[in-house]
Symmetry: C2
Subunit: 305 residues, 2 copies
């Protein structure tokens, strides 16, 4: 899958992924009104509005980009109908030829992590049938439980040619509270990075490992350091746009080969119509606004590759 990601980034010349994190606060009123008139004031209605929103966004941006990143929290917040929308979104993105990064940040003790890994990257065997629960291509993983919480994900990756991104240094303001703590002369996030490197050993394809890392664009200095500590890992970089980082903060996340990073933007693209300079599109043309914002982001990141 890492090979496919690299090919797709080279083809689109766009090291970006679009975060599909729909939210009732910016779903165009018309979509929501239509859904409520069909389903009433229910979770089904909200999920239907999310689905129509995602579908239009995917139709508008699929030819520009290699990957999308649906954030599971937004769908879980709408209960079962929301998760049904999550699954439809994964499937539709695949139909459109896109790679899907499930931003699920799961992680547990061994046997339980195995279940999460199968849920998102693998299959369940029942009698003679191999059944696919959610079927993303990559997912994000929380390392707090240590190696035996992470390894089941790597095993499932090996079996199914999938990949993971492990939280190393997250983009939020208080990420340093635990991640920056000094342990034996280095920051905890550096220790996690060493492990990311170790976990990926022997699994390289085209120079990159299926064990990637999440490092926030909001921490460019740490990005430069972490780039060197994990030379064979792709870095998934959130925090561009809405969270404040710009292209000049991103150069250091890339390797000299112009690869090694994929930068995410969620609201900056999917809710572009709510903000300048895309406001003129209006809510009726939210998908066109998203396309323009994606094009502008690709242009902005040209200097990084």
């Amino acid at each position: 899958m890492i090979k496919k990601l690299i090919e797709s980034i080279k083809k689109t010349q766009a090291p970006i992924c679009v975060g599909l994190d729909p939210n009732l606060s910016f779903i165009p009123e018309e979509l929501l009104k239509n859904a409520i008139s069909e389903y009433g004031e229910t979770l089904e209605a909200a999920a239907e509005a999310f689905w129509q929103f995602n579908k239009a966004i995917l139709d508008a941006v699929a030819d520009l980009i290699p990957a999308v990143k649906p954030q599971s929290a937004m769908y879980e917040a709408l209960g079962l109908p929301g998760l049904s929308c999550f699954k439809k979104t994964v499937d539709y993105a695949h139909e459109k030829g896109l790679i899907v990064i499930g931003d699920v940040k799961r992680g547990d003790i061994g046997s339980t992590s195995k279940a999460y890994a199968e849920a998102h990257l693998g299959n369940i065997q029942l009698g003679s049938a191999a059944l696919t629960p959610f079927g993303e291509d990559f997912c994000t993983v929380n390392p707090y439980l240590g190696s035996d919480g992470v390894k089941p994900f790597i095993d499932v990756c090996k079996e199914n040619k999938k990949g993971i991104f492990i939280l190393v240094k997250t983009s939020n303001p208080s990420s340093g509270e635990f991640q920056d703590q000094s342990v034996g002369g280095k920051a905890l996030y550096e220790l996690v990075a060493d492990k990311v490197n170790e976990w990926g050993e022997g699994l390289l394809e085209d120079g990159y490992s299926p064990v990637g890392a999440v490092v926030g664009a909001t921490y460019p200095e740490e990005g430069i350091k972490l780039r060197k500590l994990m030379p064979h890992s792709f870095i998934l970089v959130p925090g561009y746009g809405a969270q404040g980082a710009t292209a000049k903060d991103l150069k250091g996340f890339f390797n000299p080969d112009g690869l090694g990073a994929i930068v995410n933007s969620s609201r900056g693209i999917i809710a572009a119509y709510t903000k300048e300079p895309y406001k003129e599109y209006g809510p009726g043309n939210f998908a066109e606004a998203a396309r323009k914002a994606a094009q502008d982001m690709i242009e902005d990141l040209k200097s990084c590759m």
Copy 2:
């Protein structure tokens, strides 16, 4: 909710919760066969078998215990039908008067943590309707992202009178890899414990805070230390039974008032029929075996309270 948990523990004299972590490896064949004959070799069939299994377990143990802890990974591994079973299990446990701890180990940046918190402990407002996505009473939270990843859970707890258990020192063998790292003269898990204490300040009910902690029964010495660091937090203690810990390891997790800990057993109870001394029950009486195992666990833990 912490008040209700305390009342319920006092009433049942059982500081335990039963982990509802069904797994195809120990679901009685008969249940699975019936489900497959109705739904074919599908995720629906596996989820139906889980549901019949859970329902029988809940019927058998509900009068003995204060709480159950469904592990979301096991349900996610069966995709949408699995999550539908998760929701039915939460609802049925509530019908039976039980407190439900969603073992979801979620955690993300602020706005996303808010969505997770609403998914599991809160409501979604749509027009005039307040809709409940999953509706557990407590959930588990991963602290790796720091305060701004945890606080949205606490806000939703305050609004809805719910509670959380934050991963402090997990029960798995490699939990020490990051959690035991020495930071400024103390272990990282102690620093997390200090935060748990701080996050719960000003929120006490009957002497306990809605911000609890997860500390594995497999680390009894750490348990004693952490008990003192978080005097007002309930500790959710996994690792009893199947993971190897026994009652003598658990005394130190309790406060002198006999409260402050709730000990989980999953396979040790729900899969009791597969192991001595409960094997004689056989797969046809798996629920009776679970009831006996729960009674034995309650008896075993009497010395701790």
